[in-house]
């Protein structure tokens, strides 16, 4: 039942509006419903394939081909293809209900947790197809970490939060039996916690209180702890679903700096509503517009300065969405 209830979860703005069959008029934006392909204030135009045909130097880390996602009768993502370069920041922007969070959740198969979701097409991570039989979800999600919109640390100590993943995967053993048999890896745990927290730029703030409950941290610290928790399983790709939208400006700018640092080692894919944020931190930007279509995908500068699509220009200049 927790599976089905994730459809109307608050952190999932995308799926909420999709699961809701009645069109709602919110601040001039109409979330996509089946049939509607534009939102109010949005003009109609033909999509051109070359707009999404983005060429980059360096390796392709994630390759998406002809991805379609249905929630029951709702066609949430329509035929999206894009290649994501490694060790860079890729921003996904677009109005509410355009399918960008759904797209993000396909990359680590989190949509499997929603029973109504049906995914067709191909996604390759490091040239391995992740939508085939026999994919080990544990390995996939260790490889592709995720950070959510609402900071959601567990009600445990800071240390336990960070080491949660590796401990549950059996990579670090601190259980009673291991302690009795002398296989205790508390040192390794300490080191891992320290490394992950340092990478998430949180270590100095919480150094002295690693055993305190994580819920006592501020919102921004909690979100950085969630990033540290995701980093602890040693991923190569980090998915971020509007990681700063619930935070104040100062915490937001710290998260942005952190993302900038992380992009040197990790492939970061970030969904954001905030176009300035996308412009500041991302190397390339993909614009999803209503109806679950990828309209334009290119270098961030190109998208923000001279987009090919009139609708993308309208969206970026705030004419709709």
């Amino acid at each position: 039942m927790s599976e089905s209830s994730t459809t109307d979860e608050k952190t999932e703005t995308e799926s909420t509006s999709i699961a809701d069959p009645t069109p709602r008029q919110t601040a001039g934006t109409e979330p996509s419903t089946s049939g509607a392909s534009t939102t109010s204030g949005e003009s109609e135009e033909e999509l051109h394939e070359e707009w999404t045909d983005y060429h980059f130097e360096g390796e392709t880390h994630v390759s998406v081909e002809n991805l379609d996602v249905h929630y029951g009768d709702d066609h949430a993502i329509k035929d999206v293809s894009m290649d994501i370069p490694s060790e860079s920041v890729t921003a996904l922007i677009g109005p509410s209900g355009c399918g960008k969070s759904t797209f993000l959740r396909c990359l680590n198969r989190m949509n499997d947790r929603i029973k109504a979701a049906e995914v067709d097409g191909s996604i390759e991570v490091d040239d391995v197809e992740i939508y085939q039989d026999g994919v080990d979800l544990v390995e996939l999600r260790k490889h592709v970490g995720m950070v959510f919109q609402q900071p959601n640390p567990f009600p445990k100590s800071i240390r336990d939060n960070v080491s949660y993943g590796p401990r549950k995967h059996g990579d670090i053993r601190t259980g009673l039996i291991d302690r009795l048999l002398g296989r205790d890896e508390s040192d390794a745990e300490r080191e891992l916690v320290e490394t992950a927290l340092k990478r998430a730029a949180l270590y100095e703030e919480v150094e002295d209180r690693l055993d305190d409950n994580a819920l006592g941290l501020s919102g921004g610290q909690q979100q950085r702890l969630c990033i540290a928790r995701a980093l602890a399983t040693d991923p190569e790709i980090l998915l971020m679903d509007e990681p700063a939208s619930a935070l104040d400006p100062i915490a937001t700018s710290r998260i942005e700096d952190l993302i900038d640092d992380l992009s040197e080692e990790y492939t970061v894919v970030i969904v954001t509503h905030n176009m300035q944020q996308a412009a500041r931190i991302s190397d390339q930007t993909a614009v999803f517009l209503t109806g679950g279509r990828l309209v334009e995908y290119d270098d961030t500068e190109k998208i923000f300065e001279e987009p090919e699509s009139q609708r993308v220009e309208d969206y970026i200049s705030g004419k709709f969405g």
Binding site: M1, N152, F154, P155, H169, N213
Partner: protein, 546 residues
């Protein structure tokens, strides 16, 4: 209506004489209310004097004073001696309350005092009730909410002062058939009317204090709610205090603390005397002990609760995990929900009969401790299931998502995130359930209970009852198959056996004292299970939030 001058007076913080009087009236009403509660529970007896005056006279005098006072407040406001903001009327609810109260008084006076027969006796009632209703609806709020209440208080006070309700007074309404006659005594009528009048006057003076209008209604409602809460707390403490005062002296008879005064016990092969001697809890009931006690029943109750919890909690939590985490919300879960709710409200004697007809034949054919444990376990199941499921559903989905995004399997997520976060709620369910089953009499009566007053030698020894043998089933426990007593059952047995005479020859207390002490110990045991549960919940909450 509030003017600049009125606002200035408020800001300056000076208390006007009017507010001082109104505040004093609220305080006197609260005092009267407390006195009413105290006399209802006989902490204040009506026959004893207070400060040299008979209690009834004191209460009557106070009622007349606050009744007159509240009318004065209303009058002062109506004559615009003070700045208030009354509405045009006190409203229909107040009118209904005042009207029906005055209708009742008028009818009683008409039929009983004036002796008007037939339905003619209702005429004074209709007149008074209608008058009170009309006054409340038609006059301005400052008059309509104070005068009917004030006159009622003065009337009640005058009756008290006139000495009508003396100690010998009683009233049996003639209209009741004689074979089930109802008789009112002062011990109920006096506290009852004091409570009623003080509530009404307190409400009216709170309204007056805040200057009527919206603020007045707000403060009036507050006073009513606080007095109501006070009454509930008073009932609770009154009940516990009553049992303690009746039972504690007997329960502590012969209680001594000192080295080597207690009975000898053997633990880990070492024999030593306990430093505490508490005959009532450490003895059974027999002619060979000086002070009879209830040890077998205490031990029986403790084992009963432990057994029921060990049996029911794992089952219920497991079922709750399935329902909350694995089962799809749908027809099946709603059927289970209806079934568990129904099971929880099933009368306990039905569980008892189930135990007697289903469990007892399967455990040796006679009443036994294990049959009682399982029966109470069945009773505990539904509540723990319901509360555990609710607690798990209340765990934020963000935790489950975060855990899944780290690649952690569902079962591990449940075990290391969902269950710990739901633990305080689960413990709450167990506390509530244990509170209910520890005091259950009916199921024990038919599944487990032994003799009425078991001797110390009949104390059940579950730990010592374990025997290990070399043939299957390798471990047996004779004690679990024996009948045992339990505190609620023993209290029931004492009451049915009659509380008239002395307990035994040369016993230091009577059978009635013995029963009160038994009730005291039962209450203490149940409350200590509560205390353990609350401490556990507090511990887990702290762990989650700090």
């Amino acid at each position: 209506m509030s003017t600049i001058t009125g606002r200035n007076a408020l800001v300056s913080g000076k208390t006007s004489r009017y507010e001082f009087v109104a505040g004093g009236m609220i305080a006197v009403s609260a005092l009267l209310f407390a006195l009413g509660v105290a006399s209802l529970f006989e902490f204040v007896t009506l026959t004893d004097p207070i400060a040299g005056l008979p209690t009834v006279t004191v209460l009557g005098g106070l009622l007349v004073v606050i009744g007159g006072g509240v009318i004065g407040l209303g009058g002062a406001s109506r004559l615009e001696l003070i700045e208030t903001t009354p509405d045009r009327s006190a409203g229909l609810v107040a009118a209904g309350v005042f009207g029906s109260l005055w209708f009742g008084i008028g009818s009683v006076v008409g039929t009983e005092l004036l002796g008007i027969g037939g339905s003619g006796g209702l005429v004074p009632g209709l007149l008074l009730g209608g008058g009170a209703f009309a006054v409340t609806v038609l006059t301005r709020e400052d008059i309509s909410s104070t005068v009917p209440a004030g006159v009622l208080a003065i009337f009640a006070g005058a009756v008290f002062l006139a000495g009508v309700l003396g100690p010998g007074w009683s009233w049996s309404p003639g209209s009741f058939p004689s074979d089930n006659a109802v008789t009112f005594f002062p011990s109920v009528v006096v506290p009852g009317s004091v409570l009623l009048c003080s509530l009404l006057v307190g409400w009216a003076s709170a309204k007056a204090y805040a200057g009527f209008g919206a603020r007045g209604r707000h403060l009036g409602a507050h006073v009513l709610i606080y007095l109501n809460a006070l009454a509930i707390i008073a009932v609770l403490f009154g009940l516990v205090g009553f049992v303690v005062s009746k039972g504690a002296p007997t329960a502590f008879t012969g209680f001594t603390i000192g080295l080597g005064v207690g009975p000898e016990v053997t633990a880990l092969g070492v024999s030593f005397s306990l430093p505490v001697s508490w005959p009532f809890l450490m003895n059974g009931a027999s002619v060979f002990v000086k002070i009879d006690g209830i040890l077998p029943a205490v031990v029986g109750t403790v084992w009963l609760v432990i057994g029921a919890v060990l049996f029911a909690v794992p089952l219920a939590v497991g079922a709750a995990v399935f329902l909350a985490e694995y089962a799809d919300e749908g027809r099946f879960t709603s059927v289970v929900e209806v079934a568990t709710n129904g099971l929880w409200s099933t009368p306990s004697i039905v569980f008892g009969l189930f135990g007697a007809s289903f469990l007892i034949p399967r455990f040796g054919g006679s009443k036994s401790l294990i049959a009682g444990m399982l029966t109470l376990g069945f009773m505990l199941l539904p509540l723990v299931l319901i509360t555990s499921r609710e607690a798990m559903l209340a765990v934020p989905d963000g935790y489950r998502d975060a855990s899944a995004a780290l690649g952690v399997s569902k079962w591990q997520t449940i075990r290391s995130v969902v269950l710990p976060a739901a633990l305080p709620g689960i413990v709450t369910g167990v506390i509530l359930g244990v509170g209910r089953i520890a005091g259950e009499t009916a199921p024990i009566l038919v599944t487990m209970a032994g003799g009425t007053l078991p001797a110390g030698s009949e104390t059940i020894d579950v730990i010592g009852g374990f025997e290990f043998i070399s043939t299957p089933p390798f471990v047996t426990n004779e004690a679990l198959l024996e009948a045992s007593s339990a505190l609620p059952y023993q209290l029931y047995a004492l009451i049915t056996a009659g509380l008239g005479g002395p307990q035994f020859e040369d016993a230091p207390f009577s059978a009635l004292d013995f029963a009160w002490a038994n009730a005291f110990v039962l209450l203490t045991v149940v409350l200590s299970f509560y205390a353990i549960g609350i401490a556990t919940r507090y511990y887990f909450r702290r762990k989650l939030n700090r």
